[in-house]
Symmetry: C3
Subunit: 212 residues, 3 copies
């Protein structure tokens, strides 16, 4: 088991801790957070210090996993990734043993693949991505760096998603669709056409009523 330190101590961190524990591959030393940040629940692991303390852990051959989530913007995650990389950190690809990663797929450094996510054959996923719980990346799909495929989103065969995107929970990307960089696709949205860089797309409205 190699030692890892986690960057970011919120809800996504708890999910990643659960995944790391299930892998049985890493010993979690604890969490680093922003200066002055206090964590409400780290599943029993200690808050070790702030981001500034990272180099000391890297020197001790600690690997690093970025454990902040990403919804509206990938910027904080990306910034931490560059910081850790420049500090010489090893950034493992963390894959839940309850996920399926085809032996014909490729997944970049620093990407985490959560429980029951599928990365199917000939799919290619960049660095520092989140393939969240129950998400599907089908055959031949390509996902750029720093992109988050949220819980239960379906990226179908041959679709391409750019860098720094957010594909919301339960969204469906049609076969072969090409989505540019920096796009934000709302939860449950069905994407049937190609989308240029920077598109924000939010699906369906719901009718509200009161129960009788």
């Amino acid at each position: 088991m190699s030692a890892v330190v986690l960057l970011g101590g919120g809800g996504h961190c708890r999910s990643v801790i659960d995944v790391i524990e299930q892998t049985g591959l890493y010993s979690i030393l604890g969490v680093l957070e922003k200066e002055g940040f206090s964590c409400s629940n780290l599943m029993g692991y200690p808050l070790l210090g702030s981001d500034h303390d990272l180099p000391a852990f890297i020197e001790q051959n600690c690997a690093v996993v970025i454990t902040i989530g990403q919804i509206k913007t990938s910027e904080p995650r990306e910034k931490l990734y560059r910081y850790a990389k420049e500090a010489g950190a090893e950034m493992p690809t963390v894959v839940s043993p309850r996920a399926y990663l085809s032996r014909h797929a490729r997944v970049g450094a620093g990407t985490t693949v959560m429980h029951e996510a599928i990365v199917n054959c000939s799919a290619e996923i960049g660095e520092n991505c989140i393939i969240n719980t129950k998400a599907l990346v089908e055959h031949d799909a390509k996902i750029g760096n720093h992109t988050h495929i949220a819980t239960g989103a379906f990226v179908n065969g041959g679709a391409q998603i750019g860098q720094r995107c957010f594909i919301g929970s339960g969204a469906v990307i049609h076969n072969g669709i090409d989505i540019g960089d920096g796009c934000l696709i709302g939860a449950g949205t069905i994407v049937r056409t190609n989308l240029p860089d920077g598109t924000v797309l939010k699906g369906q409205q719901a009718a509200i009523g009161m129960a009788t």
Copy 2:
């Protein structure tokens, strides 16, 4: 293997039988139904009698699983639950071995977690709930008693769902959303705002045409 008797003999009962068989933990004695009700298919198990016969089974140390479903109202399920509890029944938490229940999550008595459902870390689920096939309850989410999370519904991180709710198949509840008691969320509905007690919310309309 401990003996169980099932309350309710419809389609959801068949699904639960399949889950119970897969656990290998219980020996199913048969099904109790309403007076005068006849069951079309109990997967080979016998109809043992009516609800009124329950106390006799409890006296023989039979555990009880409630196997009627819940769509529009939780009332029949809740009524049976109180009846069985008052009669002194042991109501096991039934979890499919094909589901994932984080060791950091808590699930109440009488709740069933069906095949490929996920209950992630720090999630808390009340009593007498159904977490149906392929449903997701993400990290830190809380689900009240007598609530049914239908097939493939996604309850995201930190969301809170009240008691006696129905969250329809494929619905998506955003991170951190708070849904009150007695709410009914239609299939496929995306919930982006907090909802007070008793809200009925149904998503998208579909356009109909005939194939050429």
Copy 3:
């Protein structure tokens, strides 16, 4: 391990190859395609010839798996199925070991059940269907021949889907709904009413904006 030859060399073929490899039950000889068709990526397996060469393989006791997909029409898949069947081919039911097929369910010849699909108790599925990755066919549901349940679609309890249908990715079919033959249900569509033969149904529109 029995030898199989695959009919159709596109993206769906790659997914099926991944499934067949995981089963460990078949040795894949290679792929047949239309006359003059060239395949870009067959995961290391050879293009053996065209459909016209099929009889020679059948004579050598090769089983046959149809590996073209189906979105708008089931016709090409159906045509190949009849051709192979008339030529005397054995058409195995291919089930991913990562899928769940209830022992109380029935699945026809030539149907493929992909990774993490569920076919629950008392469900019945016809011949030459695709139950795609992460799709759900719930208890008591019935699916006709030559129908494709796309990735992550949810067919709920007791629903009936006719022959030659396409149920799009992430679509949700309500409990007990009856969908006729030759229907096409778009991705993410929620089906709440019965639909006659030949219905085309496409759900939700999405609002498009540009990120700021």
